[in-house]
Amino acid sequence: MSSLAKQIDTPVEENKVLDMYKDLQRRKKVILKNRLVLWAIIAALVTWAWTGTNFSIAIIYTGTANMAAFIFTDLLPPDFSAFGRYLQPALQTVYMSLVGMVISVIFSIFFGFMAAKNTSFHPVIAFTSRAIIAFLRAIPALIWGITLVVAFGLGPLAGTLALGLSGIGILGKAFADVLEEIDQGQVDAVKATGASWFQTMGQGVWPQFKTGFVAWSLYKMDLNIREAAVLGLIGAGGIGYTLQGNINLFQYQQASVGILMIFALILIVEYTTAKIRERLL
């Protein structure tokens, strides 16, 4: 009886497996088709962008030659007598970056906590904060610089404020995203003890938020040095301002000292922030 049952059962089982295998192949085909469509779209986008920018290998070749000629005949060798003139503006760039970072950190803490769904008081406040942050981010620091130079005149104040404002756009979003990813269970546990809003934030949220907060703030300091150098070009103070003076007067060998100093500044700040991060985290 049992052997008969086996004889009847086996073909049915085999059919089932065969059906499953066919199903698997059908699913694989669908995935393959989706992938092909995706690659076709990517290829089309690249071709479109390629033609749109008039990109051609020939131009790269001649352009590189021109650039090499410019670097070797005009920029080099650097005229290190200009070093003294760059020192003060270089320090100014560091001040601008630091104060700009502090401004954006302070405001970003506020907007970040209000924008994150889990720490905000109300969804409407969260949405409004997100919108403010996105608006500040939509305008590049350079455009803020131009606007603020008109308002406050030439000099580092305009540049610092430009860095601060555009920084809220970046740090506010980063802080809000870090906050939204924290473990709600830990926050609930603190809340369940009868803690107030501020206590829940201080004891439940802050320990989880701290690492992201420090890492992002220091990263902003890195970015600020780079942006501060560019802001000088529009007269918003710092090393870029002196650099542009040299370029305008065709003093390229002095300008190359400025470029080297920006390079050195970036390296120093990057090294320092990395060390601070190691210490704090």
Partner: protein
């Protein structure tokens, strides 16, 4: 033994997506009882427990805790109710980056001014008390370690310590041993029961291990699909009822 600590009347909760998590739960919990709520995953055990201290908000019904209407409480009144209800969680929910003793001190937050508590400026008396409680749950050697350096069973004992630091009258434990191995489970449940007896606490423990419920609880409540289907002593919980709870559709 007859004093009522907690009373729920027709407590119902519907999630925004339409799921009916609780249906007319009416229960009376008396002082000193150790009540275990059993039932399959998704039955509404956690939802019920989290409703009691308003971590989620029931849609209908009434909760009366020591004479106060919990669902009507707001702001300061709600915080004062919460500090009298200690809660222990399945995933411990300790602040992983903070030291163990500080996690215990979090139990004192409800008694501190907002600013002081938020900045973690706990008094000497509270700190001594927290260390004493850690000793009670056998963790004096772990007091200064970061919470996430402890084993699961130890972390859950810190969770219990934090709840006791609140000097609560009711202790809620939401599947306290679901993420622990059998021997740690035994250990944690023993600490929980002892502490409740010593301090005269009333406690409600969600469990899905029926044998643990039978062993530790004075009273067992079975919940299925948001409804109370059993309420009685461990002896009254027959195999038939257990099967009905967990296996029948």
């Amino acid at each position: 033994m007859s004093e009522v600590v907690l009373e729920t009347k027709d407590l119902s909760m519907e999630f925004p997506d339409g799921t009916q998590a609780l249906k007319n739960v009416t229960l009376t919990i008396k002082k000193g009882e150790l009540v275990s709520i059993i039932g399959p995953s998704g039955a509404g055990k956690s939802t019920f427990m989290r409703s009691l201290n308003m971590l989620n908000k029931p849609t209908e019904g009434q909760i009366v805790f020591e004479g106060e209407n919990v669902l009507k409480a707001r702001g300061k009144q709600l915080r004062q109710i919460r500090r009298r209800i200690g809660m222990v969680f399945q995933h411990f929910n300790l602040i992983k980056r903070s030291p163990t003793y500080q996690n215990v001190l979090h139990g004192r937050l409800g008694y501190l001014p907002s600013l002081k508590g938020g900045l973690g400026r706990f008094s000497e008396e509270d700190t001594r008390q927290a260390l004493e409680i850690l000793r009670r749950v056998g963790l004096e050697d772990q007091a200064f370690k970061r919470a996430d350096e402890l084993s699961g069973g130890q972390q859950q004992r810190v969770g219990i310590a934090q709840a006791i630091a609140q000097t609560p009258s009711l202790l809620l434990a939401d599947e306290p041993i679901a993420s622990l191995d059998p021997s740690s489970s035994e250990n944690v449940m023993t600490y929980l029961k002892n502490v409740c007896q010593e301090d005269g606490l009333t406690s409600i423990v969600n469990l899905h291990q029926v044998d643990f419920a039978k062993k530790f609880a004075h009273r067992i409540i079975g919940i299925k699909a948001g409804e109370v289907v059993f309420d009685g002593s461990p002896k009254e919980l027959t195999e038939g009822i257990t099967n009905y709870l967990y296996y029948s559709k």
